[in-house]
Amino acid sequence: MLANLVRGSPVAREPIDLLHGTLDVLVLKTLSLGPTHGYGISRSIESRTGQVLEIEDAALYKALHRLEAGGAIESEWGVSDNNRRARFYRLTARGKRDLRAETETWRAYAAAIFAVLEPA
């Protein structure tokens, strides 16, 4: 199951796709700030969401490998800040495009939900 990232206009999704899609876009966004390893992505999301969102590590790594197989990101082995061998990920050109599209989708989706939730 590759990440179901749809470019262009927002589309309705299955719950599992929604889950994948959400995780994917978070990962892509994180990587857009710079290449890093899986652990780094996990910490970055935790800190940026103010500990509100805690990504399950297993799900994160599944997402990373899935995204790489889909061509949105690519990986390379390197050396971490504390001199340990780690696998670093970064966005590809395609990943950048996907990120833009997904962001738009999310914006539209969130706006739609808020439109319902907010008092008229």
Binding site: Y39, D57, E68, R85
Partner: protein, 880 residues
């Protein structure tokens, strides 16, 4: 941050490696998480456990990631491989474009070799291997009977056919057919026309698995005498006369003056196997008349049975019949395939032509090998350097493979073009005896085989550089001194021997072609025994329904003769059954009264013609002894030719002697001896036709040939004849008048076909060999350019260089000629059956071949030699 650009491609990861990396990745994460927790104050062991717990389902994640990565790796591999192939193809194309001359030469050579072979094999396939491309065509047989020796074949009687159909188990189906000429009367605006009608039994369409395009086929009742007159149109006639109208069924057509109802239309391209001549335009039910001579029968062999079983069962049925009708004992059964009717001479010729074109293909492959080998040595440097830079041997081999495949594909397309046009040309010059060729098609399987051979050659000699390069040390290859390495010399020797082989093969083909050309010349020059100038003939057919007795027919013939004799310009005229070259034969066992025939005397086939007494005068054959048919008709007088008289009655007179052609026939009295008529022919028929027998022409049959000699060229003779015949009866059919000279010329279509094809192949071989020779000499000159430059600089006269190069070419040519002449002398014996008036070892032909090849080879060596002398020594020396 480490740079993440991939500069050098890493080797592919296998499953173990992928698993390992994932484990490392997860381990890193767990360690970091544990460290983080520990930094927050949790004990190390606790921290580890917590990290693992927080991770989630490790096993599941590991599985998932492993699968994902493996799949991704596979996709990457495939994409990379495709990119490599595309690169190889592009590189190959660029390489081909950089040397356009050589590339073009390769493509032309391939095209000629593959194309010629494919065209010729398609011919052989159609005539010898799959002559009946219809449903179950390989199971169709012409059911015939033959004499005990298997020399002559006749169709079975209807009684015999019926017995076969009922009693032969290995026969699944059988049916009969015939052919006759009819005249279609015209409903305006259509004109009356004479055409051939096919006669078929009601079971024929079922046998052939064919269905009418329109309407139905004949019913069993319609084949009985007295049945209503029905007919089926051929597809072509339906289109032509009825415009393809769907309501043609039920309309009527006037055939030979009688109205026939159209009951159906045959499918397109419908034909009955074993039917001679062109496809009939009209089909009629075969009416089983009582006095039928014999019926043409075609049968389908039952699946799982062999031809031998069929013939055995047929013969068994005949022996049963022989119990009540003893004449059947003289015959045995024969199930014939179309190939059997070609005759061994034609079969051998076709196979020889196939061999000849195979030689052309060999020469083409040798040339390709030579070119690629020469290129291999020049590219050695390129490949060695690439190997040094890290290109794997497999990679280079793959690239060469791509180039060879590219070449083979382009060559194959060129070959297809050549084959298509070549086949059309072959069909255009095909002799009358091979009329089946009109339906020949290109055989894709053959094209594939020829392509495969060329591909193999290309691969073999194209891969040489990669293999050579792998063994070279880098330094060696880059040094110019490597020019004189030993592998170089052996490669040059190999190339030279290839050229020598090509030249010798060309000699064989040239000699063969020369012998056939001489044959054609000799045939055309041969004395005929009679004077064909001014002689013409017209086949005439009386309508059977209106002239039913011999007396009536004889009267009609006499009447017509009298009328024709007074046509201005006609000096002599007479009736006969046929006229040279269209005279017939008779077969049986020659017997002479009062004499026991020794084995050497026995003859079973002799030339035969039934002629009116004036015939000899018309042809200009003088009487050598006796009189023309004498006066006593009861004694069955016949005339014989000089050769026959000399063979059996040399020293005595043949006049008054009696002979017959079968033990049960009447004795014929020899009344006179006439001049020989010599019709030059090759192969099996030549000896038979030298013995000639003439019986008196009577009105026993409806057809006869009017033989006329006219003093001038009479245009419109046909119209005059038709008018005279119409005055006697409007249904007398005279369809053509032809001059004997023209008919004799048409007999030459066979030898002309042989000449055309073998000369074309020999020409191709010569062209390719010359190109090969040129290539080898030119290459050797370019390799020795430096040496020549030095010599010129040191003051050698250009003539000396010229001599040097030409002598190299001469050496190769002479070697090829010597081997070729020996080979030709040994193999032209195979052509003996195709020759006339020339021996297989005719010195003129051999000499001619030597001269022709010598001149061309000399030219091929001189051109590069001239180039050598124009070399500017300064330029050459500087290049090093």
């Amino acid at each position: 941050m480490p740079t993440l650009r991939r500069l050098i491609r890493l080797p592919w990861r296998n499953a173990a490696r992928i698993a390992r990396e994932i484990d490392d990745e997860f381990q890193f994460h767990l360690d970091m998480r544990a460290a983080e927790l520990h930094a927050r104050g949790i004990a190390s062991d606790e921290a580890r456990h917590e990290a693992v717990r927080r991770f989630g389902d490790l096993g599941d994640a590991r599985e998932y990631c492993r699968t994902m990565d493996e799949r991704f790796e596979r996709v990457q591999q495939r994409r990379s491989w495709l990119a490599d192939v595309r690169y190889d193809v592009q590189h190959g194309l660029r390489h081909m474009a950089r040397t356009p001359g050589v590339t073009l030469l390769l493509i032309i050579t391939l095209g000629l070799g593959i194309g010629a072979t494919t065209a010729m094999f398609s011919v052989v396939y159609r005539l010898l291997i799959n002559p009946l491309p219809i449903a179950d065509g390989d199971r169709m047989y012409n059911l015939m009977r033959s004499d005990q020796r298997g020399v002559s074949f006749v169709p079975p009687t209807r009684e015999l056919f019926t017995a076969w159909r009922a009693g032969v188990h290995s026969l699944e189906l059988a049916s009969t057919f015939g052919k006759k000429d009819v005249t279609l009367s015209g409903t305006p605006p259509a004109e009356p026309e004479g055409l051939a009608a096919g006669l078929i039994a009601d079971s024929m369409l079922h046998l052939l698995g064919a269905h009418p395009e329109l309407g139905r086929s004949f019913l069993a009742d319609e084949t009985k005498p007295g049945a209503p007159n029905v007919t089926m149109l051929s597809y072509g006639l339906w289109q032509r006369r009825f415009g393809g109208a769907r309501d043609a069924v039920g309309r009527s057509l006037a055939i030979d003056g009688t109205q026939f109802t159209i009951v159906g239309v045959m499918p397109r391209d419908f034909a009955v196997p074993f039917m001679q001549g062109g496809a009939p335009q009209l089909w009629l039910p075969e009416v089983q008349s009582a006095d039928a001579f014999g019926v043409q029968a075609v049968g389908k062999l039952r699946v799982g049975y062999t031809r031998e079983q069929l013939e055995r069962e047929m013969t068994d049925v005949m022996s049963v019949l022989a119990q009540t009708a003893p004449e059947y004992r003289e015959w045995k059964a024969a199930a014939m395939r179309p190939q059997d009717y070609l005759g061994t001479t034609t079969r051998d010729l076709l196979l020889m032509l196939l061999g000849a074109v195979g030689i052309v293909l060999l020469i083409a492959c040798a040339n390709i090998a030579n070119i690629l080998l020469a290129r291999a040595t020049t590219r050695r440097r390129e490949f060695t350097v690439r190997a040094a830079l890290g290109a794997g041997r497999a990679r280079m081999v793959r690239q060469l493979l791509a180039e060879s495949t590219l070449l083979a594909i382009v060559g194959g397309v060129a070959g297809l073009l050549v084959a298509w046009r070549g086949l059309a040309l072959i069909v255009a010059v095909r002799p009358d005896g091979l009329s089946d060729l009109d339906a020949v098609r290109l055989e894709p399987s053959v094209l594939l085989v020829a392509l495969g051979i060329s591909l193999l050659t290309g691969l073999l000699f194209g891969l040489a550089p990669a293999l050579l390069a792998a063994q070279e040390k880098l330094g060696e290859a880059l040094k110019s001194a490597s020019r004189s390495s030993s592998s170089h010399a052996s490669a040059a020797r190999f190339r030279s021997s290839l050229v020598v082989a090509e030249v010798s093969l060309s000699v064989v083909l040239l000699v063969g072609a020369g012998l056939l050309i001489q044959t054609l010349v000799q045939i055309q020059r041969a004395p005929l025994g009679f004077e064909p100038a001014g002689l013409s003939f017209a086949p005439v057919v009386l309508p059977a329904a209106r002239f039913t007795t011999t007396a009536a027919r004889t009267a009609a013939f006499d009447q017509l003769l009298r009328r024709v004799r007074v046509i201005p310009g006609i000096t002599h005229a007479a009736w006969s059954q046929g006229v040279p070259p269209r005279t017939g034969i008779t077969f049986g066992e020659l017997e002479i009264e009062g004499r026991t025939m020794s084995p050497g005397d026995k003859v079973s086939v002799i030339g035969f013609n039934s002629v009116a007494p004036d015939y000899f005068k018309v042809l200009g054959l003088s009487l050598k002894a006796g009189s023309v048919f004498g006066s006593d008709t009861s004694a069955h007088p016949v005339m014989i030719n000089e050769t026959l008289a000399h063979r059996y009655w040399s020293g005595t007179t043949a006049i008054g002697a009696r002979m017959r052609m079968s033990r049960t026939g009447e004795w014929m009295t020899i009344a006179g001896v006439v001049d020989d008529v010599t019709i030059p022919s090759t192969g099996e028929t030549s000896t038979a036709m030298s013995l000639q027998l003439y019986a008196p022409f009577d009105g026993a049959f409806e057809d006869g040939t009017l033989v006329m000699r006219s003093s001038s060229n009479s245009p419109g003779l046909l119209a005059l004849l038709v008018r005279e015949a119409a005055a006697i009866d409007p249904w007398i059919r005279i369809r053509s008048v032809e001059s004997v000279a023209a008919a004799m010329d048409r007999e030459l279509t066979g030898p002309r076909f042989n000449v055309a094809l073998l000369t074309a192949f020999a020409g191709l071989a010569l062209l390719l060999s010359a190109a090969g020779l040129y290539g080898v000499i030119a290459y050797s000159v370019s390799q020795r350019a430096r040496e020549m430059g030095i010599r010129l600089a040191l003051g050698a006269p250009p003539r000396a260089l010229l001599r040097l190069v030409v002598s190299q070419g001469a050496r190769l040519t002479i070697g090829g000629l010597a081997i070729g002449l020996a080979a030709a002398a040994a193999t032209t014996r195979l052509l003996a059956d195709q020759l006339y008036g020339v021996s297989p070892l005719d010195p003129t032909v051999f000499l001619g071949a030597v001269v022709l090849l010598g001149v061309i080879a000399l030219t091929a060596s001189t051109v590069p030699a001239l180039r050598a002398t124009r070399v500017d020594p300064v330029v050459t020396l500087r290049e090093e």
